[in-house]
Amino acid sequence: MSNWFSQTFPNVVYQGWSGDTGWLTAINQTIFMTFWSAIFGGLLGLIFGFGLVVTSPRGITPNKVLFWIFDKIVSIFRAIPFIILLAFIAPVTKTIVGTQIGSTAALVPLSLGVFPFYARQVQVALTEVDSGIVEAAQAVGASFTEIVFGVYLREGRSELIRVSTVTLISLIGLTAMAGAIGAGGLGNMAIAYGYNRFANDTTLVATFLVLVLVLIVQVVGDYLAKRYNHK
């Protein structure tokens, strides 16, 4: 069996398990980048998504100026292609993280790359919360925070989980591109050690592992979205 494997996938075996260019390292790097940029980018996205919804003309505290600011920031960052953002943001990354390359450095462009996408998704998810329910909450004298957390967040929970799943999956895709600034990970494995060296077996296995990651996120996300939906 292991003999068959090393004959069919020689380059895969050559990469090794641990070590700088090993598979475990690549998997860890991908998970590390996805996790932390999901936290930072996700938080930013939530803030902007909620901000857009509550300050919109139909929101609970309409505010033209704030809405305009939120809207423009999100639109501008969404318009920048990620691969350009990587280069563009490098000096900022250096001041924040101290270096421009590696997995940690990649967190800055990844977070900034994913947050506008997520903000729009959150905006759409929350807009789907029935305005009648919000009005009923206002009618019983609920405060701003009670409406944000008790109505929008709670009523939109299932939909928020769904859009978070979509965002997380596209984030995994972005981490592959971060390989371009030496961030490592499975994407880098597929390109640098696979494609560039004509090691098709390495590309294949790296792709397969990304697929497994995506699938896990999808299955867990779907399960949670369903569990928190009582509509």
């Binding site: 009923a136 019983v140 004298g141 009582h230």
Partner: protein
């Protein structure tokens, strides 16, 4: 001094004065409510009737300032919530936290129930109690008491999606009553329900009005609902109140064409009228005949109207349709009749009917 006396004499619980609500959209201005003044007294069941788009929802949302009016005065329980001319938000006379507190005393129910989907029945009711001074266990008891009132104790742990429309509306009523409000605003609360369920909900509202002296604003496009429970009615069209009065007066002496239309629908007269109007008797009405609707209430019901007409004025009445309703404990009858007699006899007969408090509507034939 006189002012003070006036205030204590009438003492409306809700007083809307010269309310305008204007929506500014990109290209056009929508005048949803135009110069509406309404006084609702404590213990009233005040019906507001009108077709879709008349401005009913906009008007009642002004009461708890869910909708800030453009102009006018909003006074609830003697407290001025809003007073301004073209002032918009700056006309609001009450602090945000005070407003939230006052809103808890104004319950509201809606056509689409607007329950929190991700909370159970009990949690939906408890949501309204977040600011209540009650202790945790007292809140629990309050929720239980409310669910008992709306007969949903056994559904406490279910989610709204598991309930029927009528049950959902009862949860909404329990939620609206959580803070012991003095006012309940019902915005088309029965419009999405079947007739039987509608009657159950209306009966519940009536009970709340009678047992707790709850003041109710009943917004609807069905005169039928008003007929069941309201003691006063306002009819709205294009943002204005066309007509306002006691239910009895509105039903027996409607003035505006729209009001008549609503009443015809509510008393099934519309269908009868449509059939009768096409009958030979009406299409070939003689010169000495008139087709009329007679509406009478209370005392006159028992008067032998038809007999008197014949004996005194030699006017023969041919009854084509008759209907008697009980409104606010008073009988209200309506007849569709062909009256025939001499010109003088008809004129005198009709006048005597009017003198007896019968409202006469000539639908076809010479106006006497």
């Amino acid at each position: 001094m006189r002012k003070h006396q006036n205030l204590s004499m009438t003492n409306p619980i809700i007083s809307l004065k010269n309310i305008d609500v204007t929506f500014q959209q990109k290209k056009r201005t929508i005048e949803a409510v135009k110069n509406v003044s309404i006084d609702v007294n404590r213990g009233d069941v005040f019906g507001i009737v009108g077709y879709s788009g008349a401005g009913k929802s906009t008007l009642v949302r002004v009461i708890n300032l869910l909708q800030v009016p453009t102009n006018g005065q909003v006074i609830v329980n003697g407290e001025t919530f809003f007073d301004g001319q073209g002032a918009g938000k700056s006309g609001v006379q009450i602090k945000p936290n005070e407003l939230r507190d006052r809103r808890r005393k104004i319950g509201m129910i809606f056509q689409h129930f607007n329950l929190l989907n991700e909370r159970t029945v009990a949690e939906n009711v408890a949501f309204a109690l977040q600011h209540s001074p009650l202790k945790a266990d007292e809140k629990q008891a309050k929720v239980a008491e409310l669910l008992e009132l709306v007969e949903l104790t056994d559904r406490a742990d279910q989610f709204p999606a598991q309930l029927s429309g009528g049950q959902k509306q009862r949860v909404a009523i329990a939620r609206a009553l959580a803070n012991d409000p003095e006012i309940l605003i019902s915005d088309e609360a029965t419009s999405a329900l079947d007739p039987k369920t509608t009657n159950q909900i209306l009966a519940l509202l009536k009970k709340l009005n009678q047992q707790y002296n709850l003041t109710i604003l009943l917004i609807t496009h069905e005169m039928d609902a008003v007929k069941e429970v309201a003691n006063k009615v306002a009819v709205m069209q294009d943002g204005q109140v066309l007509e306002e009065g006691s239910t009895l007066d509105i039903f027996t002496k409607p003035q505006a064409a729209l009001t008549k239309e609503f009443i015809e629908t509510a008393t099934n007269q519309d269908k009868a009228l449509a059939t009768i109007a096409e009958s030979d008797a009406i299409t070939t009405l003689n010169d000495n005949e008139v087709f009329a609707r007679l509406t009478y209430s209370g005392n006159s019901t028992n008067e032998p109207l038809i007999t008197t007409l014949y004996q005194k004025y030699e006017v023969v009445a041919n009854i084509l349709y008759g209907n008697v309703e009980i409104l606010q404990g008073t009988e209200v009858g309506s007849l569709l009749v062909i009256l025939s007699g001499s010109a003088d006899g008809l004129a005198a007969g009709l006048q005597s009917l009017k003198d007896q408090g019968v409202s006469v509507d000539i639908l076809k034939g010479k106006q006497a």
